[in-house]
Point group: C2
Chain length 293, copies 2
């Protein structure tokens, strides 16, 4: 097995069925030095216990997935969503402090889809803006960056009304880059004719909070959420996108985040090995190694 | 059954298993006055015979689907594709001349996906530009408009590297609007945060050659190509998009184009009835009635 690249981070979604202790162990055992965590797995124990486990692993923490889902209009459901985002901000701050040096206090934000029965995507997008205005000062105070993740437009109705990097940067522009940044996930943005220009802009504006990689291949899985693949298994040009992100100044961890039933059904240690190799073959060559925070 | 709206056109794909004579008959019998045709169905007879059938139906011809698929690099396959596009231009001119007054000499162009084994979407997009440069003068000479159709980004790898209205308009900008226009299909563009601005631009530049409607609903069909629904069955805001297209000056036919196995398995006469009613309920109210060509 190759020595893992110094900037490789395993996003825990890639190891969906592993508990937090298992995910930390298999990642560290492979020589990988960073991990991105998911809230459901963190919340399977108390937050102090999760932080203790993370600290004990010696791994960097590269992000927490995920906040957001705040497209519903004002009312009890929206207030519950906002309170949940506040908890996610606190979790992010705690975990970033518990991780090894170079950990990133980044909370990945998925906007949410159209509210039930709604056809008003423009309105839903305004709700996202309003939610950010409410949460950004609190994130800033907690030292956490809300990282807006544009999702592929095939998820625009039921998962994220935020669909392009330009749209994410436009939304972020009302706020300090320390409070609101963006996630660039190859799977979601590879098709965008405006991608290169918007990556340059994201770098110039200091907004790139996370870079996530996985591949796109057709036919899509019957559940399109599970259509993600190891880098190199599909058609994404990782050289073009990775060099652009690198040249835009992003020097942090690079997460491999894969939702794929076949990969989830594979033993986590084997998945980690495959991840290291596909990252080495298709992404690592286009990265400099130093982690700068 | 309602009286069909004067600008409603049935795109033949909605009646996939009907032959050309059957599609013409069921459309005219319902009182619909326009139809968009598909090449496979036209080519099931000679072109003069297809033109004679169309003329006999008394229907307007609103478009021919489709040309394009020209992302392959130079060589025999590309030459074959270009020749096929030339035949499609000739078919469009013949059919538009055979249709009733108000027929539109519009050839819908689907760009094509990545060539087999390629990860170079930027290169594929250049191939589209080069193909247009070759074909646009010939289309202009034939009195035919090549109507570039941006397809939803979920088809960007295997069907159309042309993914947004802005991208289509940028490509078209090298050519006369009489030679190269755009198709606005609600299913493909509803999610685009830049949609309203680009519809305004498309109108100002005289580029709107066709407006097609159908709805988006999740979960997507296992074959994502077949995820299209009657207007009103999903989440698209037909009022916002239709008013924008109308306000941008488009006064032509509005095609209902649905790929959906359940609808294809329904008797064509019943599909036409459903189409008339869903169009009436969700699209017609936002249109003026006059056809202006």
């Amino acid at each position: 097995m190759s020595t893992p690249h110094a900037r490789l981070s395993i996003n825990q979604a890639t190891l969906k069925y592993a508990s937090l202790p298992e995910a930390l162990e298999v990642t560290a055992d492979a020589g990988i030095t960073s991990i991105g965590l998911w809230r459901d797995s963190v919340q399977a124990q108390t937050l102090p216990e999760a932080a203790r486990l993370l600290a004990g692993s010696g791994l960097r923490f590269s992000s927490l997935c995920r906040g957001g889902f705040f497209t519903v209009p004002e009312g009890a459901a929206r207030r519950a969503a906002m309170d949940d985002n506040r908890r996610a901000i606190a979790e992010t701050a705690t975990l970033a402090a518990a991780g090894a040096a170079g950990s990133a206090p980044v909370l990945v934000m998925v906007a949410g889809g159209l509210p039930q029965g709604s056809r008003d995507i423009a309105g839903a997008r305004v709700r996202v803006q309003e939610a950010l205005a409410e949460l950004a000062p609190e994130a800033l105070a907690a030292g956490v960056t809300l990282a807006l993740e544009p999702l592929h437009p095939m998820y625009a109705s039921d998962r994220a009304v935020l669909s392009t990097l330009k749209q994410a940067l436009d939304l972020a522009s009302d706020f300090s880059p320390a409070a609101v940044g963006v996630v660039i996930d190859t799977f979601h943005v590879w098709w965008d004719p405006d991608l290169q220009a918007q990556i340059v802009r994201a770098g110039a504006e200091g907004r790139i909070a996370s870079y996530q990689v996985c591949d796109w291949r057709t036919p899509l899985a019957a559940d399109v959420l599970l259509s993600r693949h190891y880098p190199g298994a599909g058609i994404i040009d990782f050289e073009a996108i990775t060099r652009a992100v690198q040249d835009a100044g992003y020097a942090g961890d690079v997460e491999v985040e894969i939702f794929n039933q076949e990969i989830w059904d594979t033993a986590p240690a084997e998945v980690v090995t495959q991840t290291v190799e596909s990252f080495d073959d298709h992404v690592a060559a286009h990265l400099r190694t130093g982690i700068r925070r």
